[in-house]
C-alpha cells in the first residue's frame, strides 16, 4: 500500500492540473473578471478626463486598483465550488502537506486570473496614455504583485468559504491588506516616469512575494481547516 | 497653584486662544467616547443578569410542571 502512495509533488501537480481543467471548462470564471478589469479601466477616462496628460498621471494607479478589484472578484471561486461539492474535504484529508496543495490551487488561480490581466496591461496602459518607457516596469510590477494578491486574498477566501451569503465581506477583509502591494506597484511605475530606477521597489515586491509564498499558504491551510470544521 | 491657571475670565477659557471649537470638540468627543464605552458594558451587564434571572424562573416553572405532570 505504501509503495503505491503518491509523492507530494505528484499530488501537487494533480491538483494544479485539475484546477486548470475546471477553469477551462468553466470559462465564465476566467472571462468575467478579465472583462471586468478592462471595463473598469475604460470607465476612468470617461469619468475623469480624456486629456492624455491627466490620464498619464493616474494610469498606473487606475490599472493597479482595477487589477485589485478584478482579482478580488475572481477569488470568490477559489474554494467555494470545492467546498460545496465536498472536494475540499478530500483535499484536507490528503496525507500530503496541505501547504503544497493550497499553493497548487493558488498558482492555478493566478495562472487563469492574474496572468491574463498582466499580459493585457500594456494595451490598457497605451489607452491611458502611459509613456512607453514605463510599460516594462508596469508589467514587471504586476507580475510580482498579482501573485501576492492571490496568495493573501486566498486567506480571506478560505476564512469565508463556509458563509452562505458572504456579500462584500471578502472585499472588506482583503482590500485593506493590499495597500502595501498597491503602494510599491504604483511607486515603481512612478519612479520610471521620473526617470529613476524602479529596481528598489521591484526587489521589495520580490521580497514580499517570497514571504507570501512561504507564509500565506500556511495561513490559508489553517483557515480552510477552520472553515470546514 | 492658582497662578498656573492660564485664564482670567470664563470667556477666555471657552475661547482657548481662538481655537475654542477644536479644543472643546476634542474633549467633548473624548468624554462621549469614554462614557459610552463604560456605560454600555455596565448597562449590558444589568440586562444580561435580568435575562438570566427570567430564564431561570421560567426553567424552574417548567421543571415543577414536568414534575407534577409526571406523577
Amino acid at each position: 500500500m505504501t509503495e503505491k502512495q503518491t509523492t507530494t509533488s505528484a499530488a501537487f501537480f494533480a491538483t494544479l492540473k485539475r484546477d486548470l481543467l475546471i477553469a477551462f471548462k468553466k470559462k465564465n470564471d476566467i472571462v468575467n473578471p478579465f472583462m471586468f478589469f478592462i471595463i473598469v479601466v475604460s470607465l476612468f477616462p470617461i469619468g475623469i478626463s480624456p486629456e492624455s496628460d491627466r490620464l498619464t498621471e493616474i494610469a498606473a494607479g487606475v490599472i493597479w486598483i482595477s487589477v485589485l478589484l478584478a482579482s478580488m472578484l475572481s477569488m470568490d471561486n477559489l474554494y467555494r465550488s470545492d467546498f460545496e461539492d465536498g472536494s475540499l474535504e478530500q483535499l484536507l484529508l490528503s496525507p500530503h502537506p496541505l501547504f503544497f496543495l493550497v499553493l497548487a490551487k493558488n498558482i492555478s488561480h493566478w495562472l487563469v486570473s492574474g496572468l491574463p490581466v498582466v499580459l493585457v496591461s500594456p494595451l490598457l496602459a497605451y489607452m491611458l496614455a502611459l509613456p512607453e518607457e514605463a510599460y516594462g516596469t508596469l508589467v514587471l510590477s504586476l507580475l510580482l504583485g498579482t501573485p501576492i494578491m492571490s496568495l493573501v486574498g486566498s486567506i480571506a477566501v478560505a476564512l469565508t468559504v463556509g458563509l452562505g451569503s458572504r456579500g462584500l465581506i471578502l472585499a472588506v477583509i482583503t482590500l485593506p491588506m493590499s495597500v502595501p502591494v498597491l503602494i510599491f506597484g504604483t511607486l515603481a511605475v512612478q519612479s520610471t516616469l521620473n526617470s529613476q530606477s524602479p529596481l528598489g521597489y521591484l526587489s521589495l515586491m520580490l521580497v514580499m512575494l517570497s514571504v507570501s509564498v512561504s507564509l500565506a499558504p500556511l495561513a490559508s491551510a489553517a483557515a480552510l481547516r477552520i472553515s470546514v470544521n | 497653584m492658582l497662578d498656573a491657571i492660564q485664564f482670567s475670565t470664563w470667556a477666555e477659557f471657552f475661547d482657548m486662544g481662538g481655537y475654542g471649537f477644536n479644543v472643546w470638540s476634542v474633549y467633548a468627543l473624548f468624554a462621549i467616547f469614554v462614557a459610552i464605552n463604560l456605560i454600555f458594558p455596565w448597562r449590558k451587564k444589568q440586562k444580561i443578569i435580568r435575562q438570566l434571572k427570567r430564564r431561570m424562573t421560567l426553567d424552574a416553572e417548567i421543571q415543577s410542571e414536568d414534575d407534577s405532570s409526571g406523577d
Binding site: 503518491t6 499530488a11 465550488s81 478530500q90 490528503s94 | -
Partner: protein, 218 residues
C-alpha cells in the same frame, strides 16, 4: 444525554484494533451531542452508526477523520495518537461525506484521477475498471452535471474500489442509491471486511453483512 455502551468486547489483540475511541464528548452550541462514547473498531469489521436525526452521526464521522476538532476524549489509531502518525493515518483513511467530493464540471474519470491521486498513484485502466464495476460504463467521459445524484454517488463509490485504504468512513452512502446500488455497496463493504479492512458507516438501512456491529447514538 446520549451515551452508548461499548458495543464490541475487547477480546481482540490490541494491535488488531484499528481505531479506539474513549470518553468522546461533543457539544455544539450548548447542546450535548454525545458524551462518554466508547467504541473499538477492529480490523475486518463493519461498524454501523445509528441514531435519530441530529444525534451527531455526521459530527462523529467528521471527528474521526480529523475534519472536526471540537471534541474531548481520545481517539487512537493502532493504540497511538493520530497526530503522531498523521501520514500513515491519512493514507489509510478514505472518507465519503454527504457532499461526495465529485466536481460537477469534470467527468467521472477526471474526478477520480484527482481524488485518488491525492492518496496513491492510479492508472486510467484501474479507473475505467472501477467505473465499469459501479455501473457507469458509457458515462466515463460525460461531465458529472449530466449525471443523476445516484450516479454521482456511484462515482464516489468507485473510489472505494480503487482505494487500498484500510479504514473507510462513509456518511450516508446509501441515500441516493437504487436497489442495485445498495446491493453493490453492501457487496463492496463485505469485500473490504474480508480483506481485513474496516468500515464505519452511517445509514438507516438495515445492512445484511455478517461482520456488522451496531453503535447507537441518542
Amino acid at each position: 444525554m446520549s451515551s452508548a455502551a461499548p458495543t464490541t468486547s475487547s477480546n481482540f489483540d490490541t494491535d488488531k484494533i484499528m481505531l479506539t475511541a474513549r470518553e468522546l464528548f461533543c457539544a455544539r452550541d450548548d447542546r450535548v451531542l454525545f458524551k462518554n462514547l466508547n467504541f473499538d473498531l477492529p480490523e475486518g469489521q463493519v461498524l454501523q452508526v445509528q441514531g435519530s436525526n441530529g444525534s451527531g452521526k455526521t459530527t462523529l464521522m467528521r471527528i474521526l477523520c480529523g475534519l472536526n476538532d471540537s471534541y474531548e476524549g481520545s481517539i487512537k489509531w493502532y493504540g497511538q495518537e493520530i497526530e503522531d502518525q498523521a501520514a500513515s493515518f491519512f493514507s489509510s483513511l478514505l472518507y465519503i461525506g454527504h457532499r461526495v467530493g465529485v466536481s460537477k464540471v469534470l467527468t467521472p474519470v477526471e474526478n477520480l484521477r484527482w481524488s485518488c491521486s491525492l492518496k496513491q498513484a492510479v492508472s486510467d485502466e484501474q479507473i475505467m475498471a472501477a467505473l465499469k464495476e459501479v455501473g457507469l460504463r458509457g458515462f466515463e467521459e460525460s461531465p458529472c452535471y449530466t449525471l443523476s445524484a445516484g450516479q454521482q454517488q456511484r462515482v464516489s463509490l468507485a473510489r472505494l474500489i480503487i482505494s487500498p485504504a484500510s479504514l473507510w468512513v462513509l456518511d450516508e452512502p446509501f441515500t441516493t442509491l437504487d436497489t442495485k446500488g445498495v446491493a453493490l455497496l453492501e457487496n463492496i463493504l463485505q469485500r473490504q471486511a474480508h480483506e481485513g479492512g474496516s468500515v464505519m458507516v452511517t445509514t438507516h438501512h438495515s445492512l445484511s453483512i455478517p461482520e456488522l456491529t451496531v453503535l447507537s447514538l441518542g
